[in-house]
């Protein structure tokens, strides 16, 4: 049987100078079902091509058959680690189309849960990043803290991961009794633990060796590829939609004091006691992206504290969700929000009935993962999980 007909042979004309390796889709460190085809010369990666689509579930097509309120669970399952932010993005764009304003209390509640979910998402990013690099313990510490957040969310809406809580018009239910105290207590418990994370990862010599100078993404390339979120800010570009976005979104954050974590004029915001930047770290490398996320956790904690107070002080109700047969005026609306992993956009085109004509989700991770092939060129094989982990991708969002 010639080699062509032998079904066991999958590679013909095998080159002996380069090796074609397949990383994934089942792989302990590709953060989901991502397939990376690597061309390597020994340990040096000459090229990496990401192949996606293993988690495509036709969410956008399904959105053409469901009322906006019914489509909310599909947004949950996009970036399933930050469901609240996905829900928020979708709810806001529907409300923008309808020009429906949510009462003040509802706005503060939305900020509260969205920022809490940002903390949870960054904790997962941090923990799994340590796991990729061989540090098993911070993963469990991060999940221990995240467990408390998930418990809080379970008290709020009954779900631990895919909440479907923020819906167009308001939220599905108000906070239960005593929840504000529980949340405040959680923040108190989280604060000293963040220092542990810094000691185990951010300031750890081996971690710095693995991440500093690795996968350097120049600011211009980041902008060209459409990278957003911590990936963009880690390369030194000052952009955060909570401050710079559309008024329909930034009005949510009116009155909140928080700093955008980006390196300006050579240093990061000084409002807290952050660990120092090591000398080996180059702006735009994996370490800086990781650092931005760690600092954003602290900023989000600040925002949550402010939101707790504002929510308690606000009067009224949290908004009424729109009905399923609510007729959507014909038109279109697009809104991008600052999700934990980047700028998540939802585009809604309606034709006058209760069912949208087209829904489109602009995934933040989609643009972020596209830069993988550039970053992985010339690095060592062991750097590939470091780079992919630092981009913090979730395939649910990329594939939708």
């Amino acid at each position: 049987m010639s080699i062509i007909n032998d079904p066991r042979v999958v590679e013909f004309n095998i080159r002996t100078d380069e090796m074609l390796i397949n990383m994934g889709p089942q792989h302990p460190s590709t953060h989901g079902v991502l397939r990376l085809v690597l061309r390597t010369d020994g340990e040096v990666v000459l090229g990496a091509a990401p192949h996606i689509g293993y988690l495509h579930r036709c969410a956008e097509k399904i959105g053409e058959n469901l009322a906006p309120r019914q489509w909310v669970p599909y947004t949950d399952r996009m970036d399933y680690l930050a469901s609240m932010n996905m829900n928020l993005g979708w709810a806001l764009v529907v409300e923008k189309l309808l020009q429906l304003e949510v009462p003040e209390k509802g706005r503060h509640l939305r900020v509260l849960v969205a920022e809490l979910n940002r903390i949870a998402s960054h904790l997962v990013a941090m923990g799994t990043y340590g796991l990729d690099l061989g540090s098993f313990t911070p993963f469990l510490y991060a999940f221990r803290e995240r467990e408390k957040i998930l418990d809080l969310f379970e008290q709020v809406c009954g779900a631990r991961l895919t909440y479907s809580y923020i819906v167009p018009g308001g939220v599905t239910g108000d906070l239960p009794q005593g929840w504000l105290q529980n949340c405040a207590q959680f923040l108190q418990e989280l604060e000293p633990v963040v220092d542990d994370y810094h000691a185990l990862l951010t300031s750890n010599a081996i971690f710095i060796k693995r991440t500093a100078g690795v996968g350097v993404l120049p600011g211009e390339m980041a902008v060209n590829y459409g990278c957003t979120g911590p990936v963009l800010r880690g390369s030194g570009i000052d952009q955060d939609l909570r401050r710079d976005g559309e008024p329909w979104y930034t009005s949510l954050y009116d009155g909140y004091q928080f700093a955008v974590i980006v390196q300006k004029e050579g240093h990061y915001p000084q409002d807290h006691d952050y660990p120092a930047v090591p000398a080996e770290a180059v702006l735009g490398d994996c370490w800086h992206r990781f650092y931005v996320r760690m600092l954003e956790v602290v900023q989000s904690m600040d925002i949550v504290r402010q939101a707790l107070d504002k929510y308690a002080a606000a009067a009224g109700d949290c908004g009424t969700p729109i009905k399923l047969n609510h007729k959507l005026p014909p038109g279109e609306a697009y809104l991008e929000t600052e999700a934990p992993k980047g700028q998540m956009g939802f585009y809604l085109v309606t034709d006058g009935s209760a069912i949208p004509w087209r829904v489109r989700a602009r995934s933040s991770c989609f643009a972020n993962v596209s830069v993988t092939s550039e970053l992985c060129r010339g690095c060592l094989l062991a750097d590939v999980p470091a780079i992919v982990g630092s981009l913090d991708i979730v395939l649910g969002e990329i594939d939708r």
Partner: protein, 440 residues
């Protein structure tokens, strides 16, 4: 033991030796297997506690102590999968190569005074040489698996282990230098007495060498932060990816037994072996005096306690290895090699020269503080084996120049300023087994 069998049970000599060898192997296999079982359980509990969780708690009632046997039973019952692209013979042979080399090294390791399967004057050399064979199993496994990921893991491991054998060897040579012998039993016996006699406290260079040895030992047995051959996040399981069932568990056991081995070696070379921090049995006078030839209960108990002491220290070493694994991230292969070639080797070499200098110049060391015997000086470290005095006759007879004058520049036999011309009468030289006359 063979002697015992010959004389007491009147067995023919070859059969007696064979039986003795089998019994020794049985003991060591028992130790290795039991060690692996205990360490796997300990790893899961220790890692659990470090990660703020409990680890196995249900298997076996309390503390999950039956988890390892349960895993063993599960592993035995698994399907024996050999990938289609694998080289069948090499794939099957590889785990045995690894495991047998790891196990063989224990043959030369003494657990107490005279309790050693293979008492040899080149024990250190033997152990290092046999440990180096383990990498063959890994390379075979990686190549024979027929998978590119396994190949990657094997190549990384080959480079790493072979490179780290160099600084490991230098680190090990320093206690050999200080004691003048490669016989592990002698090295341990020379550290008898208070813990200040331990070689790690001999001079600052030896102290530093211990830490370099610890790093090189970690790299040698592929433990974190040097475990990129089994890097889960990159290579699934490296060279072990295609292995399942008993074959995999042999690799696993080989890893744990290597960990215990380098830990035991460190204990003998640096921490006094079976001699405790406090010389309890010296006070009781239970230890075998030099030249004793008959079995005594007190001596046996002293040796037993020494063995327990030794294993305790080795287990502490392994626990520290576990601790480090669950704390630190992993180094990349080029960083591992940089660490070896640019840091470990030069540092080890500098410490070698430093320790040598300290020895030759005869500077004070904590080993001199509390002498081994009330009447004698502490820390007699010089080359007994060259001394042709009558008191050391047994060993001297084995040496080529024993009947003539020692070669030029014969090393001093005692430390300067201690006031003795030679070892005190009756002091043990060479191996106690030799002193007792014959292989035990």
């Amino acid at each position: 033991m063979a002697e015992f069998l010959v004389h007491t049970l009147s067995l023919p000599a070859p059969l007696a030796y064979l039986l003795a060898a089998l019994i020794h192997c049985g003991f060591i296999l028992g130790l290795v297997a039991a060690g692996a079982v205990v360490f796997i359980w300990a790893e899961r509990k220790v890692s659990g506690r470090i990660q703020d969780r409990l680890g196995p708690t249900r298997t076996g009632g309390k503390f999950g102590w039956l988890q390892s046997p349960a895993d063993g039973i599960k592993v035995l019952a698994k399907e024996d999968l050999i990938p289609r692209a694998a080289d069948r013979l090499l794939f099957r042979a590889a785990p045995y190569v690894s495991f047998s080399s790891s196990f063989t090294a224990y043959l030369a390791l003494p657990f107490a005074d005279g309790w050693v399967a293979f008492d040899t004057n080149v024990a250190v050399f033997f152990i290092l040489a046999v440990l180096g064979l383990e990498v063959f199993g890994v390379i075979l496994a990686g190549y024979a698996s027929g998978s590119k990921w396994s190949l990657f893991g094997a190549m990384r491991e080959a480079a790493q282990v072979v490179s780290y054998e160099v600084p490991l060897g230098i680190c090990v040579v320093i206690p050999v230098l200080l004691t003048g012998t490669m016989n592990l039993t002698t090295i341990a016996n020379m550290q008898a007495g208070w813990c200040s006699n331990w070689l790690i406290f001999h001079d600052p260079f030896t102290f530093a060498v211990f830490w370099i040895y610890a790093t090189c030992a970690l790299a040698s047995v592929n433990r974190a932060p040097f475990d990129l051959a089994e890097a889960e996040s990159e290579l699934v399981a490296g060279f072990m990816t295609e292995y399942s069932g008993m074959r995999w568990s042999l690799f696993f056991m080989a890893e744990y037994s290597s960990m215990l081995l380098v830990s035991c070696l460190a204990v003998i070379l640096f921490f006094g072996g079976w001699h405790g921090p406090i010389p309890v049995f010296d006070w009781l006078g239970w230890a075998y005096p030099g030249g004793a030839s008959s079995w005594q209960l007190t001596g046996f108990l002293a040796n037993l306690a020494g063995c327990v002491n030794f294993i305790t220290k080795a287990v502490i070493g392994v626990t520290v290895m576990l601790w480090i694994r669950w704390t630190l991230p992993r180094l990349r292969i080029d960083q591992v090699m940089t660490m070896c070639l640019k840091y470990c080797v030069p540092l080890a070499a500098i410490c070698f020269i430093g320790a040598l200098w300290w020895q030759v110049a005869g500077w004070w060391s904590p080993n001199h503080w509390l002498p081994l015997r009330p009447d004698g000086p502490g820390g007699m470290r010089e080359t007994w084996v060259v001394a042709p005095e009558a008191a050391c006759g047994e060993v001297a007879r084995r040496l080529p120049w024993a009947d003539s004058a020692p070669p030029h520049g014969a090393a001093r036999r005692t430390l300067p300023g201690c006031g003795l011309a030679g070892p005190p009468a009756g002091w043990r030289t060479g191996s106690p087994a030799a002193a007792r006359g014959g292989v035990q």
